[in-house]
Amino acid sequence: MPVFTLQINKKEYKADVAADTPLLWVLRDNLGLLGTKFGCGIAECGACTVLLDGKAIRACVYPVSKIKSGQKITSIEGLSENGDHPLQLAWDEVDVPQCGYCQAGQIMTAAALFNSKPNPTDKEIDDAMHENICRCAAYHRIREAVQLARTKF
């Protein structure tokens, strides 16, 4: 099997996996980065969202071989050093999580939005967060938390 060198959360990792292995399973099975979740496997729910060079990708359908040399991956574990990214703080402040399983993906989707639009409108926030499913339906607080984080960038 080929060995892939990956830049994840400012660290270099090596993974000896089949070329078609989705990034999600490399993160979870091989590298022990468990914050990125499996929800649907078909890029519909967003639980597996990570950043690739700052843009949101769905790790469950993104083959590890598609990641180019030098591209930077950020997972929830690397969003901030101490869990103090404005989105993480807002998520606590607004007390968003219920079961909590989808929240890492929600936060990464919002992080990608802020990377492309530092000051998104309410509608742009709704459009972006529409991509992620929360089965506990904590949508009102997810919206509130993203709007709160918007004021902290």
């Binding site: 929800g39 649907c40 219920q98 089965r135």
Partner: protein, 715 residues
């Protein structure tokens, strides 16, 4: 030193000192409220008695509460310690909660039925109040003052006369030597500092930084991964298996067949996921193979069956309908729906010669272990079960089929294994909310009074699809409620607010229709019925008329019922899990297209423990109820579910949620359930508002499948 106290409620308390100094207070969290006291000899009180939860206070002042119930988002890991900390007058920043392991002595170590807080309320308060009493006693002894002169605040015992004060951590060791009191008074609710306030989830930090807390996050060296190929159609079984190609694939350790399962065992998730597609299995008929069209016919036929079981009968229904001035009849139907917790089913099992280790997400750890014990013929005391956080449950994880699979597979392959389901496995794997159909008949007299009421509930694998003692039972002199079921190979189970999740919609829609036929305002119509139940009840009344009346009146007031312009309002009220929730839905028209703008809810769940968590349960319950009523449908073709992932099964998303306004009734009654009761009334409030706005009466779920309604959505 060990001190034992026995109260009339059989709440046992055990006190010991902590290694390294400190206090450990054990109490029986889940003993029953039996009237007869149980005599226990303190000499025998050592580990095996029904004493099973712990409050500890360490020398550094850290207070730890072990929560026995599985956490799936109902937030008890925060609410439970809040109740203890309130009575203890603890510094909240020094309180932490831990998930207790499965303990045989718990009689209710499960999550379901909206029961955790109601069941534990008094026990938690007793634990906190007892610990506080002991700490005061220790301080009073040290200072040589009367305990009655001491007060507590923020984890300190204070003697204001002398100005002395000591932290709980400093007193914990001495407190552990005190005698446990026979009875301790609780705080007056007006002195509550934590209860009733919004307190943030103690697990937030772990969740937002991506810590591995869930079952699927469990990994161990030497563990293998497995996925199972199960029969795609209900009513079929394995005829033959050809696994040669899959076995030869990279990373695959073995492919084994047991019962109707073909398990692909490998080194990594992706290895087994890929190889599973190459296992060739032939299936053969093993029971009825049904499609949704069959179910529609079966349900319609059962409405006329003469084999129904009578659930409640008051007065003389036949005569009431014969003499009626007006008769209203309608039918309502819902499809199967899957639970779809975001974390798919999974469990870790390691069956060894000396015992069994189980780890994973389950709502019923005790039943799961008992079932594994029977399956493998291993005594329960040799089976450990560690409860992880659950990525949602909604009732699915009350079933332990996925625990048994993992245990059986581990015993066959003699390895530690994590069995993981994909989303398709999860959605096609059964245990659905049953498909149900209701027929309601109402008889009105010439004055528009409801004098006769009939409800027939028919369901697929739903023995009693009614709640025969719920409103309007007791308010109608002549009433007949019966039910009949069809047994199907499609597996079903409890889904958030079982039965009432659809019955609430159907009944509250029908009441709306009856009120309209009677020419009465829907709110006043309900209030009149309650008044009739109060002054001249028909049969037993098993709900609180006062509490229901209060939520109705409050919701009408908060929504400015009937007086708002520019919106169409729909009303609904429902009693479930001992709580009462009324809702007003507001719909506006954009041209001819109805838009659900807002839902105003008034909930009476007794004392609200955590305002933030309580709001989440109500808002989440309403949004779930709304989304499922609008979009939720699992249909079948030849025994196979036609939707198997989120590209085909529609869950509600951000841009579809209405505004939600929540009010709680502040009545100081001991807490009743809240994880489920907000869901049942929602569909009715929405449907009644849509009727008001458009004249379209929604009778079947999902609403988007209604032809007249879907046309309006496209205008």
């Amino acid at each position: 030193m060990t001190t034992l106290n026995k109260t009339s409620r059989r709440d046992f308390i055990k006190l010991t000192s902590l290694t390294g100094g400190g206090l450990l207070l054990g109490f029986s969290w889940f003993s029953s409220d039996a009237a007869t006291a149980e005599i226990i000899d303190p000499a025998n009180f050592a580990g095996e008695v029904p004493f099973n939860s712990y409050l500890s206070i360490a020398a550094d002042g850290t207070i730890t509460i072990y929560s026995p119930n599985p956490e799936l988002g109902q937030n008890i890991m925060t609410s439970f310690p809040m109740v203890v900390a309130e009575e203890l007058d603890a510094d909240w920043t020094k309180v932490k909660a831990m998930q207790a392991p499965l303990d045989k002595q718990f009689d209710r170590q499960l999550t379901g039925g909206s029961g955790a807080i109601p069941h534990s309320w008094k026990r938690l308060r007793t634990a906190g109040a007892t610990a506080r009493y002991l700490l005061i006693g220790a301080a009073a002894k040290r200072w040589n003052v009367d305990a009655s002169e001491c007060t507590t605040s923020n984890s300190m015992v204070i003697h204001s006369k002398s100005g002395k004060q000591l932290g709980y951590g400093e007193l914990a060791q001495e407190a552990s030597q005190m005698k446990v009191p026979a009875d301790v008074p609780f705080k007056n609710r007006k002195d509550f500092k934590l209860i009733g306030r919004p307190v943030k989830n103690l697990e937030n930090k772990k969740i937002v930084t991506g810590k591995g807390m869930f079952g699927l996050d469990f990994y161990r060296d030497g563990m293998v991964m497995a996925m199972i190929k199960r029969p795609p159609a209900f009513g079929t079984k394995i005829k033959s298996v050809d696994a040669a190609e899959a076995k030869a694939m990279p990373g695959i350790i073995d492919v084994v067949t047991f019962k109707n399962n073909v398990a692909i065992v490998g080194k990594s998730t992706w290895d087994v996921m890929k190889a599973r597609a190459f296992v060739k299995v032939e299936y053969e008929k093993d029971g009825d193979i049904e499609s949704t069209a069959d179910h529609d016919k079966i349900l319609a036929d059962l409405l006329n069956s003469d084999k129904a079981t009578v659930r409640r009968k008051d007065g003389d229904v036949e005569t009431a309908f014969k003499n009626a001035a007006k008769i209203i009849t309608n039918e309502y139907q819902c499809p199967f729906v899957p639970h779809n917790p975001m974390e798919p089913m999974n469990f870790f099992a390691h069956v060894r010669a000396d015992g069994v280790e189980l780890v994973g997400p389950t709502q019923t750890p005790g039943s799961a272990r008992t079932a594994v014990s029977k399956l493998l013929n291993v005594p329960e005391e040799k089976i450990t079960l560690e409860i992880t956080r659950l990525g949602g449950g909604f009732g699915r994880r009350l079933k332990y089929d996925y625990v048994l699979e993992a245990a059986e597979l581990s015993s066959i392959i003699q390895k530690p294994v994590k069995v993981m389901w994909t989303r398709e496995d999860d959605m096609m794997g059964g245990s659905y909310r049953p498909a149900v159909r209701y027929r309601f008949n109402a008889a009105l007299d010439a004055q528009g009074n409801l004098v006769g009421y009939k409800l027939r509930g028919v369901g697929i694998n739903q023995n009693n699809s009614t709640r025969e003692d719920n409103f309007p039972s007791g308010a109608v002199d002549n009433l007949l409620i019966d039910s009949v079921e069809h047994i199907s190979p499609i597996t079903t189970g409890a889904w958030r607010a079982p039965v009432t999740n659809f019955l609430g919609f159907a009944e509250q829609s029908f009441i709306d229709e009856v009120a309209q036929a009677a020419g009465k305002d829907p709110v006043q119509f309900r209030l009149d019925l309650l008044q009739k139940a109060r002054t001249n009840p028909a049969g037993a009344i098993k709900y609180s008329i006062d509490r229901m009346e209060t939520v109705i009146k409050t919701a009408a007031e908060k929504s400015n019922w009937g007086k708002k312009t520019g919106v169409s309002q729909g009303f609904s009220v429902y009693f479930s899990h001992a709580s009462y929730v009324a809702q007003v839905c507001e719909v506006v028209l954009n041209g001819k297209t109805p838009q659900v703008k807002k839902i105003i809810a008034v909930a009476d769940c007794g004392e609200v423990v955590n305002k933030s968590g309580a709001l989440q349960q109500v808002m989440g319950g309403i949004t779930d109820g709304y989304g499922t009523a609008m979009y939720g449908k699992l249909s079948f073709k030849d025994g196979i579910p036609e939707q198997n992932n989120f590209d085909q099964y529609r869950l509600i998303r951000m841009k579809e949620i209405p505004e939600i306004e929540v009010h709680f009734v502040d009545n100081g009654i001991d807490p009743t359930g809240l994880g489920e009761p907000a869901l049942p009334p929602t569909g009715g409030a929405v449907a009644n508002a849509i009727f008001k706005a458009t004249g379209v009466r929604l009778k079947n779920q999902p609403f988007v499948d209604d032809i007249a309604f879907s046309k309006l959505l496209k205008v």
